[in-house]
Every structure is written in C-alpha cells, then in structure tokens.
Amino acid sequence: MPREKQRYSAILNAAVFAILEIAAIIMVSGPASLQGIWLDRFSHRVRAALWGGGENVRNYFLLSEQNKALARENAELADLVRSYSQKRLSYEKGSIYDTLNGHFRMIPATIVKVSRNTQRNYIILDKGSDDGVKPQTGIITTNGVVGVVGSVGKRFAYGITLMNPRMSVSARIGKTGLTAPLEWDGVRTDGAIMRNLPLHYDISPGDTVWTSGFSSVFPPDIPIGVTGRVRRIDGSVNQVSVSLFQDFALLRYVIITENLDREEISALEKEAAK
C-alpha cells in the first residue's frame, strides 16, 4: 500500500511539474493570446508606476552628466540651425532642396524606467497615445539609437532597447558605406557588434557608424558609435565591435521618431508583395 501511495505521489508530482513547466515555457515563448497581450500591458503599467520613483532618485545623481549632454546637444542644435540657414539661402538662390531624409516627427520623452541588468532589456517612456505615440516608432537620442516602441498605453509607451537580442538596427560604416545589422554585444552598456561583413571591405578601427535609413523606423545618418576590433569568423566573414556613443547607463531623455511616410511605404511593400 505505501509503495502504491509513493507511486501515485510520484506520478502526481511529475504531472504537476509537466503542466506548470509547459505553461511557463509557453509564456516565455511570447504572449500570443489576447489575454497574454492584456497581461503584458497590465504588467508594463504596474512597472511604470512602481519603478518610476526609483529611477527618479537614480537620475538625481546623474544630473551632472545630463547637464553635460544637454550642453553638447545645444551646441549641435546651434550647428543645425546654422546649416539650415545656409540651405535656406541656397534654396532661395534656386538650388534643389535635400528631401532625401524623409519626414520624421520627433516627440521628446522622459524615461520612466529602463532596465540594463538583464539580457532582454526594456524601456518605459512617459509619453503614450494621448501624446501621439504609435507602436513601431523609433527611440533615439542625439548620441544614437536607443530602441523601438512596442506597445503604447494612454500615458506610457513600452519598448525594447538595443540591449535586447530581439532588436537590431540597420547601420552603415562611415568610410566604406557598408551596411549591416548592428546588435548589442550582450555584455557592455555601450557595446555593440556588426556581424557577417564581407571580407573584401577594409574596415578601420575608429570609423563612425551611422543609421543607414534603410528601415522606416529610424532617420538616416544618426551617429551611433565608432568601430573597434575587427574579427574574422570561420574564415568567411568579418565581425566588428562598435563602441556606442550612447551609454545606456546614462540614459534619461530620449526622442521618439515617427516616420510620417511609413504607412505609404508599408502600402507600397504590400502592393509589391502581391
């Protein structure tokens, strides 16, 4: 009898374990159901409310760094104003105005919460649908790319950062013009890598890496970082490490970028796919 009881107990244990483990693995694979999405949003909202305070304390101690960044940004904006003035002058004289950069709407936002200590980091911003933020819009700073907005609530937007294996950015290496996806290196808060680069391109350490503009999420020509060590992988491709200009440990203010031509581009892509 006790042996039978033991066997029954072992089967029950195994069954409960299997059911709960499968449920957990399904959850890890992604929120596919409506309930999953609802739970996900609820979780984002709770985290935004819960962790916002803690992040404010941390940001207080980063004020000096932020001031330096703002001063740099002011200088860059002043430069930009000067260059626009020059363009306006040349336009008035009859030159062709540069419209290659597309139409991007910029929404400044403050970070409510950004995670940096896991392999799948996320960001919560204080702007939501009430402020005109839409899903699948970019998050940048003047120092580079930060992430992509995934879901939007009324007052908050939730996104994944570049410090997440689910995200890559189409990037261009300065001198060569070589374009490849840029991903986080998984270790540093200011490190990234570009994989699968053809061997015949000569990539020198110190080249600036820019956004390519090939995706409809990020504007082109945002400086992201500089190239570092080049490694040959399996003798067939190169991999280059990139030191990002934007250290994720110092993030506080960001800009949400919405491509106003995105719907037209998507419609064209769908049309072409038919």
Binding site: S9, T118, G186
Partner: protein, 172 residues
Amino acid sequence: MRQRYIVTYIILLAVQIVLADLLNLSQYIVLSFLPVMIMSLPITHSGPRVMIIAFATGLAVDFFTHGVPGLTAAALLPVAFARNGIIRLVFGNELFSRKEDISIHKQGPGKVLLSILIATVLYFLIYIPLDCAGTRPSGFVTARILLSVALSTAVSFFVAGILAPLEADRWR
C-alpha cells in the same frame, strides 16, 4: 510561527524583486536567492504545493522585473520538483521522518551549503541558457552561470540563516 514564516518569505520575495530590477553588477552576474527560498519551505509541504508556490513566486518576479513572463518560473520549477531528491541526497531520509526543516544550526553549514549549491546550479542551468536564448556565445553563457552560481550561493547561505532562526533557538 507559520504566519511569521509567510511574512519573511514575502519580504524576501520583495527584496529579490527590488534587487533583480535595480542591482546592476554586470551582465555576467545574476543574483538570485529564490532556490534557497524554495528549499527552505516547510518539509511537510507536498510536492505539488511546493511547485505551485515556486510557480507563483517565479511569476511574481517575472511580472515585476525583467518583462519576460515565465522565465523565472520555468527555472524555479525544476528546483521545486527536485527539492525532495536534493534533500534525500544531502541530508538523508531523517529530515522527512522527523519532519524537520532545513536549518544551518540543526544540520550544519556544510550540508546546507551543499544543498543550496545544487539547487542554485540547477536553477541557473535553466535560467541563463533560456534568458540568452541562443543569442550569446557558449563561453559567455558558461561564465555567466559560474559567476552567478558563486555569488548567489554565498548570498543564499545568508538568506537560509534568515529563514530559519527560530528553530535554532528551539533546538538549543
């Protein structure tokens, strides 16, 4: 006594959530004392009960911290499933016959540390590969497991002392 244990468990869970979210040591280190919390649950709890507690604990951590629901729960469940086996392996059957909970003062620091180490290794062997999900080189994953086990085992040993101090007084 039972109420005190529940309160301590919830406080430790809250501390784990705060640490998981705010403590940023390195990408190579994950600090977790959840395995020792599961190991320290009363010995009279049945297997399914322990697993349900582990599942709920894991989900609570996932919900409030890194945003990958199910990740901690998936890693903590095998610890709960293997708990009785680990206890038998390290302490023998005596604990079950005497219905005695794991305690540094009763069973000695060596055995408790060994049980914590096995549970922590099991936890991180699942947690870290699942977290990296094939996107990181095996060297990184191995280093992350080793460093996380080392730090978490040390902290867990301290947590084990918090979870069962009253039994120690009773024992003396």
